[in-house]
Symmetry: C2
Amino acid sequence: MTDGVTARKRGRPPRTESADTRDRILAAAREEFSERGYEKTSVRGIAKAAGVDSALVHHYFGTKEQVFEAAVEVAFAPALVVRDTVLEGSVEDVGERMTRMIFGLWENPVTRAPLLAIVRSAVNNEAAASVFRRLVSAQLLRRIAGELDAPDAELRAELAAAQLVGIAMLRYVIKVEPLASADVEQIIARVAPVVQGHLTGA
Amino acid sequence: MTDGVTARKRGRPPRTESADTRDRILAAAREEFSERGYEKTSVRGIAKAAGVDSALVHHYFGTKEQVFEAAVEVAFAPALVVRDTVLEGSVEDVGERMTRMIFGLWENPVTRAPLLAIVRSAVNNEAAASVFRRLVSAQLLRRIAGELDAPDAELRAELAAAQLVGIAMLRYVIKVEPLASADVEQIIARVAPVVQGHLTGA
């Protein structure tokens, strides 16, 4: 047994310690990307914020783009949980469920910060845009499109998403008034039928 | 007359030369802001690209934010010309005219580049966002809202704009497929009624 213990001490840390380190790096990455944006964030800066060596960040995640993707995936996990509730239920009110899902994420400060980081990064950097395309369009929009019985389902899902993305831009990112201060239920009441129209309209 | 000539030589350059320099600085500024985004652009870099001293940039425009605002105003001038055609004609198809105006600007590579610069900068920087709010919402959306006979005209104009902003984000900035490659007339046909609905719908 002595050999086994020695081997473990010399090699990788045991499972739980390793998972803790991984989580700590991801939390630091999310923080750094949110505050500085994709371009100004470095693997070195993430490592420093997590209190580990840069080599360990590379070991767990690879390149900066891969750390970003992992951080976005974690930040995006609540959206994927809610997505499943969007997909459940009648297609006749999928527009309202999709609208409520998006506003639920943006109105909550905990999920708003990583969303802001994703938008800011994707707008300014091709690697980050590519992560956005893989996650948002593949995991979210294509799944919603899959529920629609239409040959142009993906385009419909994207035009619906565009309405919500545009409101998020003007309300939460650029903060144009009166939209930025409007009551969220008032916005949902106006926008849900538009989203529904894109998804299932004539 | 000799005194006058001497004074002119020692003082500011004559009118036309001064206008040329101003234009050259603005062109350099537009180029720098488009390529680097607001935060990474410096007055020094703009001066260098224009082949003038930084002091001259400050002399003509003031701070970096003021250079940005002047550059955006120039880039935005075609939109203001088209805006007037949007405002002319029946309110019943203002949605289609507004939609065509926005796609006209984004589909043209000459006007697309400064629009990209405005979006990238406004998303990442509060000073640039403030310029966006002053120009786009005050000069464009409030004027369109002024044509509508509704108490919530500004909110309507912003929700209509949000549909178009969101499509621009997904199609031209993040390039999500199939929207990025879809035929522009097909998009206009689907979106113009939605924009019209926001502006004048029940």
